[in-house]
Amino acid sequence: MMARLLMALWLAAAPWAWAADTAQPAAADPALEKRVMALSAELRCLVCQNQSLADSHADLAIDLRNQVRELLAAGKSEAEVKAFMTARYGDFVLYRPPVKSTTVLLWVGPFVLLLVAVAALFVHLARRRRADAQTAEILSGEDAQRARQLLEG
């Protein structure tokens, strides 16, 4: 029982210990740190690809975050830092890639699919309406009356 309790305590404390262990050399200036984190959230960690630089604890992510901090501290703009990163790692580092010939499909694709789906829906509805009109014509006059009689019993 005691051992279990200790284990639970240890597990509860572990994340804090770990966080303390990997704490970043934060900039003294909180405003700068905020910019660093905001910009890092826009950049992809190359090692663990579905995390941003801000979230990742990979060595390279830490190095790159430090690089971002340094560039911003040196007075570079957000756009200049992004340019620095894409020059080295390509558009892949950006979570929001720029619109250009190779990324057009990525940006426009979903809207094209939506248009196709809407068009298909309209075609389908138009066809059905035509089919309905046809059945209405087939049962005209006497037939329609007979059908109604049969249905109503």
């Binding site: 080295r88 390509g90 558009d91």
Partner: protein
């Protein structure tokens, strides 16, 4: 009517096609924007001779390989015998970029496994690595006489890559 019944099957096959293609692609292989761009300049301390430096500019006029390695890097072991062989054959000079490593570890590693490098530069803080867009060691760059990167291999150099890509390109670049 029959064509309409086949539509889901056709869509399914298209989907399978895309998924099959997706399985073959390696998401870790990020195309480098540095290919056909000038190799970033660096000047770093040499691994074997503390105090002496090696710069990218020193290699101007030669076709050379820049191999990013580290003693802590597991996949580096995989490609190392091939590099040692290549180094012995003296086909193309290999410059090592010892990435975020400790000197004694790096030296011991080369002592044990062989040293294929004409010279190794020490990139202890990984700055030059960032300039070269390194994100997974080992990485290998083929750089031409003018100092332009012509090819980049991410991950271990395999005999296939060496035979099919690197060596023919070295030959071509030498003219």
């Amino acid at each position: 009517m029959r064509a309409r019944l086949l539509l889901p099957l056709a869509l399914f096959l298209v989907l399978v096609g895309f998924l099959a293609l997706g399985l073959r692609l390696d998401p870790r292989e990020v195309p480098s924007p540095l290919v056909d761009k000038p190799a970033p300049a660096f000047s770093l301390e040499q691994l074997h001779q503390p105090g002496a430096r090696i710069a990218a500019a020193d290699m101007k006029g030669q076709v050379w390989l820049l191999n990013v390695w580290a003693s802590w890097c597991v996949s580096c072991r995989e490609e190392h015998p091939l590099l040692v062989e290549l180094g012995k054959a003296k086909v193309v000079p290999i410059v090592g970029l010892n990435y975020k490593d400790r000197r004694e570890d790096a030296l011991a590693w080369l002592e044990r496994l062989g040293n294929p490098y004409a010279v190794s530069a020490m990139d202890a803080d990984g700055r030059v690595g960032i300039d070269y867009g390194v994100y997974g060691v080992p990485e290998t760059y083929l750089i031409d006489r003018d100092g332009t990167i012509r090819f980049k291999q991410i991950g271990p150099v395999t005999p296939k890559v060496l035979q099919d890509s690197i060596l023919p390109l070295v030959k071509k670049l030498r003219g």
